[in-house]
């Protein structure tokens, strides 16, 4: 009874306040063609941020949501890759590192088909874009058809997936590999520690970290790790960002990355059907990807998906939220769904300070409640888990997660992430994807068509 009384009853007024606050963040962070993740820390356009932002922005303005994705696609390379950052030319180079003069995309990326403008990074981020594009279309199919939205984005998104499943199939097993810890989107996760140890760090005088100008050093990666990030990116650049020519020193198959690829293939299938074409090839790819994920990355003993380090061929012995995200796959065998559901509720991931899901095992040796992706709970991963729970009809848990998400997003002023032990908000505030996904969860239609 006490816990019931302690918990504030959700009210329509609270929802309205939250909706207004979230919309305000998205209006404030809009640049005219896309949305910055945060006015303070991230002044350009980020790939998977834009996808999550579009998912929420569609409730504020379908047209802006379409623009968000299309402005990102304007930075796509001829080899199909969608770069993880599209730089705003109006922002000075020292506002963010690595800046355009580090990546040198127009010059160094030319062999791989980088555009001469805009300037971009050469890395990628998880392929959640097709899912986002489908949801944006579904928000107003009439407006989408009128503007020819799917006609334009479908071939580009298909090329993006082709890139990942050909150039990036570095393990030869039909899964996409990431070649830098920034690529799976969970930069500083303990999952990458062993693989990173093999990388000789760049000397500190070779770079200046702009992330520490606004972020707290205790939250951010260490200088040593940062030196390794810089080394990997510089090596890739020196090889012209050519995946066949680069001797990648960091190659990992990540479960979240590949699960999102599979779900996005389903979205491409739905788009193809909407465009009057057959979606069979995409649907088949989605099933193949799901099967391979289970074959290659499922750890039946631990009840979680693991990353696989392609340098050693071994599964990475860490539990991270990446291993829970495949719950989003509709084709997942039911026994795996049950195991993932159990892991989600286990001491590894049931946090005392938040109803969101921590990014890393609470009992793990490398757990840190504050440092990037080594424990803190993010809102985008909570949204993915929520979608996964709904996909498998685990509605009570989905609703609990949704309520927690909305409460904590509002309380934290749309923080970037949350300390899972104390519940304290960390990182940037007025963070765009937190606000966007808040709008989405406030507007969620239980019967929204899934791809």
């Amino acid at each position: 009874m006490k816990s019931l009384l302690d918990r504030p009853a959700p009210t329509a007024a609270a929802d309205l306040t939250l909706r207004r606050g979230a919309a305000r963040v998205l209006i404030d962070n809009w640049t005219g063609t896309s949305t910055v993740p945060s006015r303070t820390l991230y002044p350009h356009q980020w790939s998977w941020d834009s996808a999550f932002i579009a998912i929420g922005l569609r409730h504020l303005s379908v047209r802006r949501a379409q623009q968000e994705l299309e402005s990102l696609l304007a930075g796509q390379w001829a080899d199909g890759r969608i770069p993880h950052i599209v730089f705003n030319p109006a922002v000075p180079y020292d506002a963010y590192f690595p800046s355009p003069d580090f990546w040198q995309s127009a010059h160094a990326g030319r062999p791989s088909g980088a555009p001469s403008a805009p300037q971009t990074s050469g890395l990628v981020q998880p392929p959640v874009h097709a899912l986002a594009a489908w949801l944006v279309h579904a928000a107003d199919p009439g407006e989408s058809r009128r503007r020819g939205f799917l006609d334009r984005v479908h071939p580009r998104l298909a090329a993006w997936h082709d890139y990942l499943l050909t150039r990036r199939d570095l393990g030869g097993a039909g899964l996409a590999a990431v070649v830098h810890p920034w690529e799976p989107g969970m930069d500083n996760s303990p999952c990458w520690d062993r693989a990173l140890e093999r990388v000789e760090p760049a000397a500190p005088e070779e770079f200046h970290r702009a992330d520490l100008d606004h972020g707290h050093p205790a939250d951010r990666p260490t200088d040593l790790d940062y030196g390794r990030y810089v080394r990997l990116a510089a090596d890739y650049r020196e090889a012209g960002y050519d995946d066949r020519a680069t001797r990648h020193r960091f190659t990992v198959e990540d479960p979240c990355f590949n699960a999102l690829l599979a779900v996005s293939e389903l979205a491409l299938a739905a788009m193809a059907r909407e465009l009057g074409r057959t979606g069979a090839a995409h649907a088949e790819r989605a099933r193949d990807l799901s099967r391979r994920l289970v074959d290659r990355l499922w750890d039946d003993t631990a009840g979680i998906f693991r990353a696989r380090d392609l340098a050693t061929g071994a599964m990475v012995d860490e539990r991270s939220i990446s291993g829970l995200v495949p719950l989003i796959l509709p084709h997942l065998p039911q026994d795996i769904v049950r195991r993932l559901h159990a892991t989600l509720g286990s001491p590894h991931f049931k946090a005392p300070g938040t109803r969101l899901v921590p990014s890393y095992d609470l009992t793990g040796h490398a757990f840190d409640p504050q440092r990037y992706w080594r424990g803190p709970a993010w809102f985008n991963t909570a949204w993915l888990i929520h979608r996964g729970l709904r996909t498998h009809h685990l509605h009570a848990d989905a609703e609990r997660l949704r309520e927690g998400f909305l409460t904590e997003a509002g309380r934290s002023r749309f923080a970037e992430y949350v300390d899972p032990v104390s519940g304290t908000a960390r990182g940037a505030r007025q963070f765009s994807w937190t606000a966007a996904l808040t709008l989405d969860l406030l507007s969620t239609q239980p019967k929204e068509p899934t791809p």
Partner: protein, 266 residues
């Protein structure tokens, strides 16, 4: 949901009561009145009082004259101020909220020959502040609000953007003057209409709606969800008053507006 109003001349019917009947059926919450010069609005007081008794909701009035409080000519200025004061008094008498006026309309455009107005910017500002202060004081005494409407660059050379209206209003120090925004003019003048609404949230008192081509909402290409979303975000609780030209069958065009705005997020 945001409330909608239609300007009276858009509504079919010979009387305000008949127009109100139509307006309600079409889904409107109110009628916005129009006030001609020569104290014509004041001469309608009996008609307006009766309409009020009959339940017609008339929260706002929009000036319908060819000279304004920012006129170059001193006599026209004096007359415009006298007319606006009278309009504020009448709207107060019938229990309304306020009256809307631009600084000027059709008097001068810096985008059309001869490009340079006969009065300096400093003189413009002095004239506008004097007029606004006098009208704002009058509105305060009457317990209503004067809504200052920025117009696009082809219709007025002095107040085109929300920030210019906000600057003048702040300079008067009067709570009885607020910005009356208009989606059509904002589309031309604001680089990001939604962001402009957020930036001047505390001063926005009234909103008029028409599409990018001045026709009824839905007939052009404005991003209505973003514009209306911004109004929701600031907690705007006034009306969206349709002030527009009509394309297509005029009755159907007027009838379509509340439903269109609702579908667009109002």
């Amino acid at each position: 949901m945001l409330k909608t109003a239609a300007q009276e001349q858009l509504l079919p019917g010979d009387t305000l009561q008949a127009k109100w009947e139509f307006a309600q059926q079409a889904g409107y919450d109110a009628i916005e009145l129009r006030a001609k010069g020569d104290f014509h609005f004041a001469s309608r007081i009996d008609e307006l009082q009766q309409a009020r008794k009959d339940g017609v909701v008339m929260p706002t009035v929009c000036v319908d004259m060819l000279h304004f409080f920012g006129a170059f000519d001193a006599d026209l200025r004096r007359d415009a101020i006298a007319q606006m004061k009278s309009q504020l008094t009448v709207i107060a008498e019938i229990g309304g909220l306020g009256a809307q006026t631009p600084a000027s309309y059709g008097m001068f455009s810096r985008r059309l020959p001869p490009f340079e107005p006969p009065r300096s910017e400093e003189e413009d500002r002095e004239i506008l502040l004097a007029g606004l202060s006098e009208l704002g004081e009058h509105a305060r005494r009457e317990g209503v609000t004067l809504f200052l409407e920025p117009l696009n660059r082809y219709e007025d050379h002095m107040v085109n953007r929300l920030e210019q209206a906000a600057d003048l209003i702040r300079a008067t120090g009067l709570d009885s003057i607020r910005i009356g925004i208009d989606s059509y003019h904002m589309n031309i003048e604001e680089s990001d209409p939604a962001a402009a609404i957020i930036a001047h949230a505390d001063l926005i008192g009234h909103a008029q709606v028409s599409d990018s081509n001045r026709f009824q909402p839905g007939a052009g290409h404005l991003d209505w969800p973003a514009w209306l979303g911004a109004l929701h975000t600031i907690g705007y609780d006034g009306h969206l008053a349709a002030e527009c030209r009509l394309t297509g069958d005029p009755v159907e065009a007027v009838r379509s507006i509340p439903a269109f705005l609702q579908r667009s997020g109002a």
